[in-house]
Subunit: 257 residues, 2 copies
Amino acid sequence: MTTEGQVHLVGAGPGDPELLTLRAHRLLSEADVIVYDRLVSPEIMALIPAATRRISVGKATSHHTMPQEAINRLLVDLARQGLNVVRLKGGDPLIFGRGSEEAEALRDAGIAHDYVPGITAAQGAASTTGVPLTHRGLATGVRYVTGHRAADAALDLDWDGLARPDTTLVIYMGAATMAAIAAELIRRGRPADLPAMAVASATTPREARVVSTLSQVAEEAAGLEAPVLFIVGEVVSLCVAQPLPELLTDLPMVANA
Amino acid sequence: MTTEGQVHLVGAGPGDPELLTLRAHRLLSEADVIVYDRLVSPEIMALIPAATRRISVGKATSHHTMPQEAINRLLVDLARQGLNVVRLKGGDPLIFGRGSEEAEALRDAGIAHDYVPGITAAQGAASTTGVPLTHRGLATGVRYVTGHRAADAALDLDWDGLARPDTTLVIYMGAATMAAIAAELIRRGRPADLPAMAVASATTPREARVVSTLSQVAEEAAGLEAPVLFIVGEVVSLCVAQPLPELLTDLPMVANA
């Protein structure tokens, strides 16, 4: 290591610490400081040595989230102090993770950085529920969209494309808008009884699922705690009530480098 | 471990062994036998202890690939011998991996099985090229499709949906059909000069990239060796010529359990 700072934009995966990549696990052990947000599970945060500095930049309510520009500045400042920074994000930094916005700020500031992909929530939910994202005869492809919208903005989605029967549709951050999305998909011709599911905190001990239909899933999932992912499509009919994966309790602690 | 056999359907990720999940790495160490196909990188196969039995079910040319039904039977047979089987697949078993077809055969045979997700090729290519799959203002979502088609079958894709400007399009197994896909997308209104790239063997020492346009990318990528992934969309304009990631040479060998 030189004294020059650097930033690793690292995906933490969906929550189960054993779904960290080997590289993410190593970088956590080498970091001087970890900048994380609310989608990183407590089980993963528990792996980080107590002596490692950690900075939270997002809490459960959006009111306490640091603006993106402030996060960008923070990363630049920490790297300029010569620190080895891990920017730890739930899922994958380049799928709804805004990792590329942070990378642009780092590039503009001349700071070395790289990406480490992570298992995204759709993959985590697929693995624990047994619902494939593609399956011969049911789905020839998969599509990830976000139900999140800026305050006062209308949902501007490609409705006709979303209503295609041969594509599994995964909606991230859709808790507030799923009812409207479902209604519009039905209006565009998708069957009201199309299989649909909601999965909260997939791959963690808090995982909860609602297996339902397009017309009912938003209402039935109303009690789930965030983060909630929706999966819509014939593939949901393959859902099997698999036992939740055992979380290892003897995962190797990350050693402070 | 009981003497009852089981099958883990495990994603090996895009090729870099450090992008294995901790769980995949552990299961490789515990397996009695590993059933793998051609998309698993040699770097990952090299991690497996020499004494562990390994069975290849797919070679570089489709002519030497074991039919899916024979793979299903093999997995059932091995598990019935009481073996702990890892079915190792490139990428993620539930994204173009046919993991759910194998799971159906295992369920029908009453054999315990589970899934371990893996980093899919799109995520690997995004991380090494710096091309995000979503990015505010450029892509509100991402879509994975396959360019593979059965012999003599026409490509039956959702062309209008694929031609949407706000979605990053990732085409798996498209080497043979990318020129036809690009021509059709242009006919449906996508600009001929839309940024598009091809990435071969992302995250491995064999990674090669062509950054081009929709109209040119298939021709320019003709010399790349499989597997080749295509990424189409404005996000490709963010491609930065990042150095390839250093492959660790001191990755912990998997110990035979």
